[in-house]
């Protein structure tokens, strides 16, 4: 352990893992943490809780140190037990900044930790930096339409970072970080118990393997308008995918969903129709080779990642495009 008072410049990253493997998003957080630790002049410390956290520490060569919390109760992820474990580690480490990914697990952990430790929390961060000794967090809010730059008070803070907002991760790194063992807290009688993992139902189409996707969002307005999208997909030889609201409405199956709680896709062409481009959606498709977006709102965030944009009524543009493509075939 570090002596008290020497950790005030450290940057901690809460590491996620599933099925014994470190989540890719955590390597991304470590890369972001490295930049920040360089600015604060502190160490980059990975925090790992789990039944075999020490083994996982071996994959975290990107960090200067790894704080591990091991306990049999941590055999499977539950928000409660992991929160207790992370909290115990962060109380001991007392870092300047704690970075958490804005993922399902990160949503549980970031706000839970901030309240438990009484530290400020900034969510949906695209950037966290130090200016004149003060922490500045940039958050993407209102569906990505606006960014809020905030000065963070106090000596500690939790920042939940949006995945995909920084440079791609470079992997685990080759360093040999010191492993610091944190005694597991009393995990007591768990009020949340893991039962099982359920794999998603396989769909009729695997959108992650399709070369061309026509992806439909809220702008389509009604299920009755989906044939317009299907006709365009047909003309392009494409599969139809969708943003979350379309799937939540039950208009298309879950297997067609692109984004944070859906699939990550990297097709040769991603044609986004009536999709505004919330951060959760962009996370799943920004790696596409060519992105074309059609959306009524010229200020829609989708145009920040698209290569070509059309700010017009999709009900005018889609039929015209479908006709032209059919004429070519």
């Amino acid at each position: 352990m570090s002596a008290p008072g020497t950790t005030e410049r450290d940057v901690a990253v809460v590491v996620e893992h599933l099925d014994g493997r470190i989540a890719e998003v955590s390597f991304e957080m470590l890369a972001r943490g490295r930049t920040l630790a360089t600015a604060t002049g502190g160490r980059l410390v990975a925090v790992v809780a789990g039944p075999d956290a020490r083994r996982l520490a071996g994959e975290l060569g990107a960090a200067d140190a790894v704080a591990v919390v091991e306990h049999a109760t941590l055999a499977h992820y539950t928000p409660e037990a992991y929160l207790h474990a992370h909290r115990a580690a962060l109380e001991r480490l007392a870092p300047r900044v704690t970075l958490v990914a804005s993922s399902s697990m990160g949503l549980d952990q970031a706000a839970g930790l901030a309240v438990a430790l009484d530290w400020p929390l900034c969510a949906y961060c695209t950037d966290v930096r130090v200016e004149d000794g003060a922490l500045v967090a940039v958050s993407q809010i209102y569906g990505g339409k606006l960014v809020a730059e905030a000065r963070v008070d106090g000596p500690r803070a939790v920042c939940a970072l949006l995945p995909g907002a920084g440079p791609p991760p470079t992997g685990g790194g080759t360093g040999a970080p010191a492993v610091e063992e944190i005694p597991a807290p009393d995990l007591g009688a768990a009020r949340i118990r893991f039962r099982r993992l359920v794999a998603p139902e396989a769909g009729d189409v695997d959108i992650a393997r399709e070369g061309i996707l026509v992806s439909v969002g809220r702008g389509i307005q009604s299920q009755d308008n989906l044939p317009l999208v299907e006709a365009l997909a047909e003309a392009l030889g494409a599969a139809v995918s969708a943003s979350r609201p379309i799937v939540d409405q039950g208009w298309l199956p879950k297997s067609r969903q692109v984004g944070k709680s859906g699939l990550t896709v990297k097709p040769r062409l991603y044609l986004a129709v009536g999709i505004s481009g919330a951060p959760e959606h962009l996370e799943g498709m920004r790696g596409a080779e060519l992105i074309v977006a059609i959306n009524q709102d010229p200020g829609a965030p989708i145009f920040d990642v698209a290569h070509y944009g059309v700010a017009a009524d999709l009900f005018d543009v889609l039929p015209a495009l479908t006709e032209k493509l059919k004429a070519r075939a």
Binding site: L121, A123, R151
Partner: protein
């Protein structure tokens, strides 16, 4: 079973969002608010549980403006009670402060299960459900896509991870769950039914208790994202646009011939 659904009004993202003269907040005059769509899913999941288990559903909202009609709509959809927490909230309220108020309000509202939308477009300082659970010291699960009752004091929550993978978690009550999506699309309440309830039903109101909960950070600048590599925008008639698009796709071998 008593289910409380916390709901909040957020700016309608379909509208143009204006930043105030100071450049630190939305221009709130004339701002159109709507119910956070994740909260609609939280309500729907609560109503599905009510349909099966005779639960009593109470909807709670802070009076951030424009909230009455929304609460009547919640009643029209099937909620049993609507509670409005009054206070100086018209200028917007940070998530941590909202959660602190709700945490105190829940002292007086019977609840076994609290459902909240997993997130909202304006929760810069955290998500209300998780914050609320942490403040009340009860279990919480985020990104829930289905809830089943397992007995008097226990529910099964499905937590969703990337790629659609789900974990089934048994959660002891009382608990707060952050709902990503209900098991079915939110039900529709006919406008006539909402109008009727606006005449016949009453919204309960309680003044907000005084709480201390700073967000711990101060917005110094609110702005549109810096236009980095913006898309090349195509203009013209639908036909002209379609021609350009076909040419662009053709160039890359993406058009079938």
């Amino acid at each position: 079973m008593d289910i409380v659904v916390t709901v909040k009004m957020i700016p309608d993202l379909v509208e143009e969002l204006e930043v105030n003269a100071e450049g630190t907040d939305l221009e709130r005059a004339g701002l159109r608010l709507r119910l956070n769509e994740f909260d609609e899913h939280a309500l729907e999941e609560a109503l599905c549980l009510k349909d099966r288990h005779q639960a009593r559903v109470t909807v709670v909202a802070l009076d951030t403006g424009d909230v009455d009609e929304t609460l009547y709509t919640c009643l029209a959809r099937g909620a049993d009670r609507a509670l409005k927490v009054t206070g100086a909230f018209a200028g917007g309220v940070a998530s941590r402060a909202m959660a602190a108020v709700l945490a105190r309000v829940l002292d007086e509202v019977p609840h076994d299960l609290v459902l909240a939308g997993v997130q909202a477009a304006d929760d810069r300082d955290g998500q209300v459900g998780v914050l609320l659970a942490a403040m009340r010291g009860v279990p919480h699960v985020s990104v829930v896509t289905g809830v089943e009752v397992l007995g008097d004091r226990m529910v099964l929550a499905r937590q969703e991870y990337a790629g659609g993978l789900q974990a089934e978690l048994e959660v002891d009550l009382p608990a707060v769950l952050g709902v990503q999506a209900a098991r079915q699309a939110p039900r529709y309440a006919p406008v006539s039914r909402v109008r009727q309830l606006m005449k016949t039903a009453t919204l309960d109101a309680v003044p907000a208790p005084a709480v201390e909960a700073a967000a711990g950070s101060t917005v110094t600048r609110l702005a549109r994202p810096a236009g980095g590599a913006r898309a090349e925008m195509l203009d013209g008639s639908p036909e002209e646009i379609a021609d350009r698009l076909v040419a662009i796709l053709d160039e890359r071998g993406l058009v079938r011939r």
